[in-house]
Amino acid sequence: MHEMTVAEEVLASVAREVRRNGARKAISITLCRGRYGCVNPASLTFCIGAIAEDTVLDGAEVKFRELEPGVLCPNCGPVAAVSEDAVAVCPHCAGPAEALTGTELFLEMVELDVEEDCPPGEA
């Protein structure tokens, strides 16, 4: 995956949410990735930093959450994967299983800096 293109998409999505919520800028963003994804987190963070200057992402913290790798076994149900390798085998019964997570990449959460509302009763 190409980190600069992804960084541009992140900026576009965050800018949209800033506009929608009348915010000043983003304080932090949380990206979720599957363990077998094609995007390198350090490279993506670098690219976001490179394009963030003078945008709503300027100074925002970039957080990553790695999705727990798991498989869906027809016998055992959803099972957390234990192996480092990307195998589609159930770690409980060794039968064939379908990978539940792996190559996902999504923008999970944006934390925005919004104006304080005036408390009721004050001018």
Binding site: M1, H2, T5, V6, E9, V10, S13, E17, N21, A23, I27, L31, C32, Y36, C38, D85, A86, V87, A88, V89, P96, A99, G102, T103, E104, L105, F106, L107, E108, M109, V110, E111, L112, D113, V114, E115, E116
Partner: protein
């Protein structure tokens, strides 16, 4: 004051949107589209050359490379219409590049469109091109650990074609291990062993493709 917005918004939606539209356009033309992915030198072009006699009149090819049109010229010499994408440094094709290239080809009346991706077993796995299937082309000279080391390519492929089998007596390659490890990553993977040089295995591979195309 801070406000948290939960999105769960998939990234790289742009390429997927272009690929989805392109896929619809290809299906409307009755085309079965295959994206061939594999390392530089795995034998992707050579495989297409070996398939060309049976594909003549029924297929076109889009060639992807960083530089040169050598592969396009080879495919045309083999008797199939082809066009070249030079990626200006990108290490994989994307849907927009394929859309623009497809527009230069006459696709009416054809059954197959093969896309030969840039030689790379990493990035192409992550980019949809509007294809029906990706096929991983892996040669027996690259080391039998490659399926395990490149799981995304194996997972995203419907088939793995093991090429250069005529060289097996000269290399240390356990093809059974390659197939087993690939199927641990992708149990649905169809595996073929071929030699473009001798023609071995090309028939069954193409029969399978015809069956897949008929089902689509």
């Amino acid at each position: 004051m801070s406000k948290k917005i939960v999105l769960r918004e998939k990234l790289s939606a742009k390429n997927e949107a272009v690929a989805a539209e392109l896929g619809v356009a290809f299906r409307q033309l009755g085309l079965f589209v295959v994206d061939l992915i594999g390392s530089p030198g795995a034998g992707k072009t050579r495989l297409l050359e070996a398939m060309a006699p049976r594909l003549r009149g029924h297929a076109a090819v889009i060639e992807g490379d960083i530089q040169t049109d050598r592969d396009t010229r080879r495919i045309e010499k083999a008797g199939l219409p082809a066009c070249q994408i030079n990626t200006q440094g990108a290490c994989h094709l994307d849907a927009a590049m394929v859309r623009d290239a497809a527009a230069t080809l006459t696709l009416d009346g054809l059954r197959y469109l093969f896309i030969e991706n840039v030689g790379n077993l990493v990035c192409p796995a992550g980019f949809a091109l509007g294809e029906h299937m990706k096929v991983a082309v892996v040669s027996v000279t690259e080391g039998d650990d490659k399926p395990a080391k490149y799981p995304a390519a194996i997972r995203r492929s419907a088939a793995m074609v093991l090429t250069k089998t005529d060289l097996l007596p000269h290399v240390d390659c356990d093809v059974a291990r390659m197939e087993r490890e690939a199927k641990e990553i992708n149990p649905e993977l169809a595996v073929f062993q071929v030699s473009a040089g001798t023609g071995a295995g090309i028939g069954p591979w193409m029969d399978w493709l015809d069956a897949m195309a008929a089902r689509s």
